[in-house]
Symmetry: C2
Subunit: 254 residues, 2 copies
């Protein structure tokens, strides 16, 4: 299948490598920043472009993997194209494309991506949506080459998945960052806490997180909670997070 | 070495099995609730007791693994004992013991424990403290049988580790629970999000968490943030957490 990839961020970078490894033909990588497009294109034997006028309008699949507020602008430049055009956003409606182009779809990989870390797509849930059954078949065939976990998910459910992902991933990762900040400030090595981070995540593969909750808040250990709040007296933002999350733990575990 | 274990919670349960596997002799397991003591004792070939008067006062090591506010009460009942008495708390001072008993120490395993999931102690950082060098030697020898990561850590540093652990583990796990709540409320399976939880935790083994932060807040994607807040309109506690953590991400990634 001939694919045009539009975007050069974390998702586009990982997706390009996975598509290439699955034997797909990425004919072009588009980015307003040509250097970014080149960085991906050179790894997948593709052409890099930075002008909409250069886009190959005969490809089978166009993957728009850009910031949410840039999707509509890209779609306008793909008007009249016969191929299937999909975005990779968890939170943007399919209509942003289908109001502009003939065949629209969504290809949302439920994972966190960084350019510096190439992930294995095989276990990533791929959430698909398309404007008609034929296009959904096309998209499903590509998705199944990449992952063993391909799901058809409507827009409302996809948005819920994305919201849940923000809690389980973006916010959890930020808590790791705050933990790192606390340790560094006290000349303690972040490596010390890594086995704890790993075990905490591994636990939820075997039991629901609310069943394995530990710590001062669930024990109603107010003495420890107050000691911790005092230790954070010069970091009021962390104090607020500590208070908010401790209260939430108490509320869930009444 | 003859050991008396006082406590029957998550830490005591995991510690008993690790000590037994390391060839140590747990002579008694004490708990005010005899059934809880029995549940541990039967797995490590030990006697279970529920009265302080029954405690063997000739053991080499007494491990007090109870709630923080119960440590002092246990220590009072160990007055006059010659063996080393340690607690396993991340947040309680060694003085709570050393003011009561001859030889005091701290044996703090930096990990999250549940009775339902037995962890491998080999990779758990064990943070030790003792009232004198001789006792520290004794404690170190036991600890090194259990784990490859044994550290001498003073009380102030230990308390910082515990605070950092609350962020990286207790709060992160609670975010998994809130994610589970959001999914369940919308008839979506928690399994869908497990690869994301695993990858988020694995990432910090290779790069600092602030370097791999993703999501709407770091992208300043206010449109998505507002959509998410609207989706949480019937869950004001989750709205507050979303707002607080998003603001903190923006503050850290200025």
């Amino acid at each position: 299948m001939n694919i045009v990839l539009l975007g050069s961020g974390n998702v586009a970078t990982n997706l390009a490598l996975a598509l290439k490894a699955a034997g797909e033909n990425i004919v072009q990588v588009f980015s307003p920043n040509l250097e970014n497009a080149k960085a991906i294109a050179k790894n997948v034997g593709s052409k890099s472009i930075n002008s909409f006028s250069e886009i190959d309008r005969t490809a089978d699949l166009y993957i728009v993997s850009v910031k949410d507020d840039a999707i509509a602008g890209v779609a306008k430049n793909l008007k009249g194209v016969d191929g299937l055009i999909v975005h990779t956003s968890g939170t943007t409606d399919i209509n942003i494309l289908s109001s502009e182009v003939k065949h629209a779809g969504v290809f949302y990989p439920l994972q966190t991506f960084s350019k510096s870390r190439i992930v294995d797509f095989k276990t990533i849930p791929l959430c698909l949506e398309a404007s008609d059954h034929h296009q959904l078949d096309i998209l499903t065939r590509v998705a199944e080459k990449l992952s063993d976990k391909v799901y058809v998910v409507n827009g409302d459910k996809r948005k819920v998945l994305h919201l849940a992902a923000v809690f389980a991933c973006n916010f959890a990762n930020h808590l790791y960052a705050l933990s790192h900040q606390i340790l560094t400030k006290n000349d303690l090595n972040f490596d010390l806490i890594k086995p704890l981070i790993t075990e905490t995540a591994d636990k939820v593969l075997f039991d629901y997180p609310e069943n394995v909750q530990t710590g001062p808040a669930i024990r109603r250990d107010e003495s420890t909670i107050n000691k911790h709040l005092a230790m954070l007296s010069d970091l009021p933002e962390l104090q607020e997070i500590y208070q908010t999350l401790s209260n939430s733990i108490k509320l869930v575990h009444k």
